[in-house]
Subunit: 97 residues, 2 copies
Amino acid sequence: MAKAKEAEKPDNTVYIGKKPTMNYVLAVATQANSGVNEIVIKARGKSISKAVDVAEIVRNRFVQDLNVDDIKITTEVLEGEEGRESNVSSIEIFLKK
Amino acid sequence: MAKAKEAEKPDNTVYIGKKPTMNYVLAVATQANSGVNEIVIKARGKSISKAVDVAEIVRNRFVQDLNVDDIKITTEVLEGEEGRESNVSSIEIFLKK
């Protein structure tokens, strides 16, 4: 389901990393104002808090008609260099106009 | 709606703070195994990532029949000592058997 969505609209996902929060706010707001009606914010580990900040700041300050459509949390298994596996939580915040 | 829920079941909320993740995992798992069918995990700011970790660890390792029923994000306004207001994001993860 999520995969099919991604195949149709590959450019509507914003991945949250180590840059300042406002960089991602700008990325999401720009997409929302360029006619994209569904935007997905994705983050893993400690960036999850920043993802929530980004969604909230965009909605409250920049694109008031954007709503949280769904939020999914899951666990991803990352494989380290020596084959060791580690679990990391991830979040997907689905925003919709 | 959320308030009414809280009034009925005041003890099913686990607030995530600065303690180690496993403390909160244990708190949630203990509640789930003591007959509570709905548990809410709440966190603000940087603790949001830890809240997601707690939900995922409980579900994957300790209480397999616990599911994420809903996730809400919102912005809370905190008033500082000098009357300055600051915004902080918060999350509520609703778990249900």
